[in-house]
Symmetry: C2
Subunit: 322 residues, 2 copies
């Protein structure tokens, strides 16, 4: 397998940006032939001409367009990674926490802000991923800790239960089903379900519940965030499932109501998982100890008031390529 090279990708990215081989060559400080050659290798290997000359620049083929985007990202990531490794010994600890979409949105901000107060000089990154890859993420060292369901038991992974939670099926206050009792799959399956980006992940409790009552991807509507889906529910567009403690204020204010659902388990447990022994970083260990403290419980159950803007890092939605 002939490998693409970072140099080749850099050459292509520069050509795509500047719109000419000559310009790219000047910008990279090499001859045009060098750039042309690098692109030729990519063309051959990928079986795509990638771009053709056009009036006042170049016109990318569909393949070239994808490569331009991917290559720019790869090159940027490579440089960024080198940079970060180089200044790794600069004191500030680093922690990558993976969780579900709902966890990243509604559990981690409060939890990690609270954790950060007793662990100063800490740089936290939050990742939203399918539960199915929790274990892989830990083993691959792409995450230090996962928060949410426990991954399948595995030799080097330890899961610590730390918080019992309840789910609530919610609807708008004037929803037709509001006074019905003991709702089951028959009544619920064909309602419009409004969910966050990963709302059907079958390894979450809410995803399992939705699967249980027979909700399909074609019948559910997705919103860019769990909160957005709940807002749409409040506006009367459908139903959703949410952490009870998250919607408690809405239920109290009456902007949402809770439906009476039967025949499904709606209580579950949050786990913090990490590698065992020496393989666990000290910061990860500190977080694993922290989650069982009352301070952590309180932070999660209290409605979040947001994170100070200057210490905020937006969550990263990681896509997993099998």
């Amino acid at each position: 397998m002939a490998d693409m090279t970072l140099t080749q990708l850099r050459a292509f990215v520069t050509v795509a940006r500047l719109g000419s081989v000559k310009g790219a060559a000047q910008s990279l400080g090499v001859t045009e032939a060098a750039v042309s050659g690098a692109v030729a290798v990519l063309r051959r290997e990928l079986g795509d001409v990638l771009f053709i000359r056009a009036a006042g620049g170049i016109s990318l083929t569909p393949g070239g367009s994808r490569l331009a985007a991917g290559a720019a990202e790869i090159v940027g990531l490579a440089e960024e990674t080198r940079h970060r490794v180089r200044q790794a010994s600069s004191g500030t600890a680093h922690l990558r926490v993976a969780s579900t979409e709902a966890g990243v949105e509604q559990v981690l901000p409060a939890l990690l802000t609270s954790f950060g107060r007793r662990q100063p000089d800490l740089d936290v990154e939050t990742l939203a991923v399918p539960v199915a890859v929790f274990g892989d993420l830990l083993r691959d060292r792409r995450a230090d800790v996962t928060i949410g369901p426990a991954p399948h038991p595995a030799p080097a992974v330890e899961s610590i239960p730390f918080l019992r939670f309840q789910l609530a099926v919610v609807a708008a206050p004037d929803h037709p089903l509001r006074h019905r009792q003991r709702l089951g799959p028959a009544q619920l399956a064909h309602e419009p379900w409004l969910l966050g980006p990963a709302g059907l992940d079958p390894d979450t409790l809410s995803g399992a519940f939705l699967a249980h009552i027979g909700v399909e991807a074609t019948g559910a509507k997705a919103f860019p965030s769990v909160t957005a889906s709940l807002n749409a529910v409040a506006a009367g567009a459908g139903l959703s499932v949410a952490f009870l403690h998250v919607v408690r204020d809405d239920l109290r204010r009456g902007s949402l109501i809770r439906l009476d659902v039967t025949g499904a388990r709606l209580g579950g447990m949050l786990y913090a998982s990490a590698l065992t022994g020496e393989r666990r970083s000290t910061t990860a260990a500190a977080l694993c100890r922290f989650v069982t403290t009352p301070a952590a419980t309180q932070a999660v159950l209290t409605r979040s008031n947001g994170v100070p803007m200057n210490e905020f890092r937006p969550p990263v939605h990681v896509t997993i390529w099998s």
Copy 2:
């Protein structure tokens, strides 16, 4: 500049995953010496031992931990990119649309769903980025179209205005400032402002407004999404600025109220920007034509009912490493 190599990164990733050089060598089908050598090159180049042997596996240094995460991403992205380029000619068009955080959350879903209905077999990706890089993204071909403020005028970039919008300063219904008239910086600067991840981007109208009245990053609170910040506003935790058409329903229902603010421009224009001429893909051109149609306007101004789950792709938050 000695370059890291994808093969070297792959070797390191495998070592990090399997916890041993031997295991990695077997998994990669080469000798241990090959793996050891690849890691040695990385060690030398990055000036970090990356990992040390520990009981039953390895223990990563801080630098090694960063490298494991970055390298896994780079290797995955490289393979994914190769794969995507290879099947680029498989018919389905591809479109990458960049916008602001608010745009990605509150404008693009409806706009692109509507666009997708008249442009079947379309694969759309949405990117949330700072406005300052809109132009670069287009020139680097990392995005086909940007939606939001117009980037600084540049030779090969064309911006098409398509929608006039208003911002509203919103608060909870019982907020102390609710009956005050003509609020100015003096009254507003030290209120708690609740914003989305990129709420202070000075190149957006709302960011400019906040800068104008003197809001600093230390005084503002960040939420994982714009919608979440608006929810917190409704709960009484502070103020926010939002697209008027997005909060119209909340204002009507009374879950939010609008404050009377003076001395600041709160009306603006949305632009669709793309490269000119041959450099613009046909799909990008189609979107540029579409945004000015009544269907597009209506889609944006109507409250979104979500995207069918089976055709939903979560937005990507791109980090730009200068």
